[in-house]
Symmetry: C2
Amino acid sequence: MSIPLYQAKAEFFKTLGHPARIRILELLSERDHAVHELLAEIAIEPSSLSQQLAVLRRTSMVVSRRDSGQVVYSVSVPEVRDLLAAARLILSGIVAAQGDLEDELSPMSAVH
Amino acid sequence: MSIPLYQAKAEFFKTLGHPARIRILELLSERDHAVHELLAEIAIEPSSLSQQLAVLRRTSMVVSRRDSGQVVYSVSVPEVRDLLAAARLILSGIVAAQGDLEDELSPMSAVH
DNA sequence: ACACGACTTGCACAGTTCTTCAAGTCATGT
DNA sequence: ACATGACTTGAAGAACTGTGCAAGTCGTGT
């Protein structure tokens, strides 16, 4: 049952490898959100949101609790904020180095 | 004309979401390596290694140069090291919370 | 010019992940 | 007890990713 570390890391990053899941984590790292609040911010089917939340729950990155008829999610590991920040840093470095990728990346950027 | 940032982030993390690519980045963040050196450390087919290197090249996370008959790779963004460290931190947090995966995480965790 | 080692690329097959629809659960208000 | 709003789950097909083999390129030494 020995899962090598690099394997665990890969799984971990894979969990972050989806736009909706990134959005969720960013919103949750600001403050806790009920599912319907997330739904209002992220343009996606309820069932799809639920699927992505399930992925994040499975990897223990978020936890949910019931609160007066709603389900409220929160990040279980506060360091997630640091990680997203580190990613932002690297990303801006890469973008700056490439200089001109921004234009190609714009389709559908209206949303955010 | 801004990139949907969460989309770019997701792509970025997706790039990290593969055991071989994690290994590669860890090795390269120690020092530059020629392909055949990577091959000696990572147990995969040459063509598979090459494919994964291509993925990392495409996302500008590594660069390659030819050097006396060999191809040498290096990380192009030094902050990658920080990112891997941040991931390690979160991972150990999650693991500690879950309790019993720790043993598996020790092989080679001395350095990384 | 030729062979060889060091890599990379193309490709087909297999496995994995996403998306959506339909159905199901659960707690609250009437 | 029933309806409703708030979510979750199951499942099927589409889309994407990874793997290994065969073939190809590139540079160096003979």
